[in-house]
Symmetry: C2
């Protein structure tokens, strides 16, 4: 009478696709586009390739009188490293499958964004996705596939291998129900903001009306790809520690500490083990469960672990941020504040804030542009921690900014684990450490603005005299 | 160099447990408590058993000087129908496993809340959960188990069967790191609001300080358990239709329409098939994929399907809502507005709104109590659709409510699929149909308040004369 069943991850997100940002045709067209573009940018950056990304949205039916919502062909192609043929169908045909489950900054983190775009196309049009991947070995693989949603597995319907001399890259062509009429401004804004923050990328967008948008790269300087890092002691839990102990190849607990934790050298390890009362020479594999629990307690309590460093992070940087703001917002004044690396729950993060004041591009009043791991966040502004800080924690009168003055605030949080509140990566949850760093960066940038404004004020006073 | 891997559902929510409401010890203690209480209430209601629910939070270490966060034993026990032994370990040991993946109103919907509570306990204390279940067959099963997080499977460490004459019920005892100091007020508020909306339940809560909270039932009248229903044509997509066609046992498309869709009788089916140009006698299994796509288009376009009915829903009802508000908020005036059944994307829903004005319990100004499928929602108020309506869409001056007057707004949305924005069931996403019904209910209740206030005003005027 009470009947139990199990559902697969793809089945779960098929039923609950609004959790992943696929709630309606307009929103889904945006989400599919962004998931694919973010995949392309991640791949190019990891491989050190200057990104050339091509995005096209074409109505399936050439009859222009047909109203939205209606089927579109969304195609995203890049010049990145491509995807190894043995992984290609699973990369897009399985939820919770990917290459970004590591402690290293990337746009992707859940192993499902590409798959959800394919899935949404399939459930609304039943057409297979067309994938093309070349990894620079002289060949390109072309696949047509669908997803077995109940089983969370790809169904490859056609596969061809063609010559592709000297090129690499990935192309995804999905047919899906969309609403370009409603989604257009958000899609264009997403690409524009991506160009602001990724000035080394070429983005070409041909939209449903055939209009071309070309964001040309303004620099050939790419950020250094971040390294994978080890977990920090403050973020470790008992499950994670037990796995490290089980997999450990170190003969002593002292060596184990050094090999498995972020920035723990021999001195730190020795002093910590002394503090925690554990024997530095004990065999990690011999540790009992209750001992592991108290080791975790000690790891959290010990005050002298080095703060996380930023080798696993890739902030935008003051120069690039300034260039991007200048190019897109053309303000009268720019202030940038880059905070030193910090951490929440052991996850390293860096906050960067820009302020753009005046000029003719920004609308009157306050605008907020939010970014996380170089992704523009365009939804749920009111729920985001940045918005709450601007709305509740900043005393604007203190900075003598006229309320009708055009003022743009640009926030970027980068981390090995961005604390998104939702699977759809819409906004950041409140984390006290991140909140504190955002406030500090904001106040620093506002002070720079205040200095500028008072100088303006005193200059105007001098001029009037 | 680019290495792919797959992670299980439990591994995904272990790494991203904040998506499910397990972000820190304080929040996790609340989330674990609520997930278990909601399971107990669901089970009792489905079985028509007046719920007796016992909740206890006890510090693991009796040394009271130990500060939060620290390990607690959380125990939730009910007199419900119990869980069949063959499903017991998977019910709590597997993510995406449960009995509520159906089109019927229930608090649970994701198949993971109980499992997450166990998982959080395990990763913070490494202790097994103790489960007890009796299904009324004279025996009770006692299990100690943990979760193999990588495999998404239970690890049963001990199992005993003991005599349990004439009783049924479930008990869950999980040991987890918590912060009762921070969580106490939210936990107490959750139970108090649950008592408001579930006046037929006995709730006994013994907290970490040994204090007893007893919410005694004020009625023995229970709501009729909702029926499982069929999908409505407006909510169907191509994947869902193809599955129905594949599993279909009907010989004709006409019969198929009647057997598989909500409130589609023979007349409606015949007229729809005529409208869509499909042959009523065709064999459903012979339908081609492209035909299925155009059938779905027609299902969405056809205007004359009956609106969903409410047999799959279980609203609180005007009487119970009024009783609960009276008992807990003791206001001077109550207005209730229950909307007729409606639907979003084919999912039936009902909106109920109560207004409580005046009295000594409510604080000054506006308070919002939100409920969905009889669950109190205590987090992320500012992101919820109800809050946005109160904040942006209501002209309060129109209703002549003094801003300092105590005014409580109680909203309840019940549906076969509550459009939660997050896996942690914190708040409702914006759905235009739900938004419209909430506004209508609110305005209706406010008009009742306005009538009352103007009568008060005129009575006071008369008295002054
Ligand atoms: N354009 C691309 N070029 C190279 N590799 C890609 C590309 N698109 C996807 N991939 C690979 O496929 C994997 C799965 O992509 P998918 O978007 O589903 O998940 P993800 O990017 O890892 O995480 P998220 O769900 O957060 O986006 C990626 O991890 C990446 O290895
Ligand atoms: N106290 C209980 N009495 C009877 N059955 C229960 C009880 N607790 C859990 N169950 C069963 O175990 C299943 C799994 O519970 P779990 O909380 O993990 O998922 P759910 O309630 O179905 O969905 P959700 O994740 O939204 O809570 C339930 O569907 C229910 O069948
Ligand atoms: Mg991705
Ligand atoms: Mg549940």
């Amino acid at each position: 009478q009470v009947s139990f069943s199990e559902i697969s991850p793809s089945e779960f997100f098929y039923r609950n696709r609004d959790l992943a940002g696929f709630s309606n045709p307009s929103r889904s067209l945006y989400s599919a586009m962004r998931e694919l573009v973010e995949n392309s940018l991640d791949a190019c950056e990891m491989a050190g390739i200057l990104p050339d990304i091509f995005i096209r949205i074409t109505p399936l039916d050439s009859d222009e009188s047909k109203q939205d919502p209606k089927p579109y062909v969304l195609r995203v192609q890049d010049n990145g490293p491509g995807i190894d043929p043995k992984n290609l169908s699973y990369a897009f045909g399985r939820v919770f499958y990917g290459s970004k489950f590591k402690l290293r900054q990337a746009r992707g983190m859940f192993g499902m964004g590409g798959t959800m775009s394919i899935l949404y196309g399939q459930i609304t049009t039943n057409r297979p996705v067309k994938l093309m991947s070349a990894i620079g070995d002289g060949k390109a693989v072309q696949i047509q596939m669908m997803i077995d949603i109940r089983k969370n597995a790809p169904i490859v319907m056609d596969k061809q291998v063609v010559p592709a001399e000297g090129i690499s890259g990935t192309s995804v062509e999905v047919t899906m129900e969309g609403d370009y009429f409603r989604a257009a401004s958000k899609i264009q804004e997403y690409l524009r903001q991506t160009a602001v923050i990724t000035p080394y990328a070429n983005l070409v967008f041909i939209d449903a009306l055939g209009r071309q948008f070309f964001y040309e790269r303004v620099t050939k300087e790419m950020p250094v790809p971040p390294d994978e890092t080890l977990p920090h002691p403050y973020g470790i839990d008992v499950e994670a520690l037990r796995r490290l102990l089980q997999d450990s190849e170190e003969a002593t607990l002292l060596k184990f500490m050094q090999q498995n934790f972020h920035r723990v050298g021999e001195n730190t390890a020795r002093r910590f083990l002394e503090f925690s009362g554990f024997n530095a020479n004990m065999n990690p594999k011999s540790m009992e469960t209750l001992q592991a629990v108290s080791l975790v307690e000690a790891l959290h309590k010990y005050d002298n672990f080095l703060k996380p460093d930023a080798s696993c992070l890739s902030p935008i940087g003051k120069d690039i941020l300034k260039k991007g703001i200048e190019k897109e917002l053309k303000p009268e004044f720019i202030a940038i504040s880059v905070r030193p690396p910090s951490a929440y729950s052991g996850f390293p993060f860096i906050v960067e804030v820009g302020i753009a004041y005046g000029g003719k591009v920004l609308p009157q009043g306050l605008s907020l542009l939010r970014f996380a791991n170089r992704i523009p966040l365009l939804y749920d502004e009111g729920s985001d921690i940045s918005f709450k800080i601007l709305d509740q924690d900043i005393d604007w009168r203190h900075y003598k900014v006229r309320t009708e003055a055009p003022l743009g605030v640009i926030t970027h949080v980068c981390s090995t684990k961005v604390p998104y509140k939702t699977v759809g990566k819409e906004y950041l949850a409140d984390r006290p450490e991140i909140e504190r760093e955002l406030k500090n960066a904001l106040r620093d940038a506002l002070r720079q603005l205040q200095t500028y404004l008072s100088r303006q004020g005193s200059m105007a006073a001098v001029q009037r005299k």
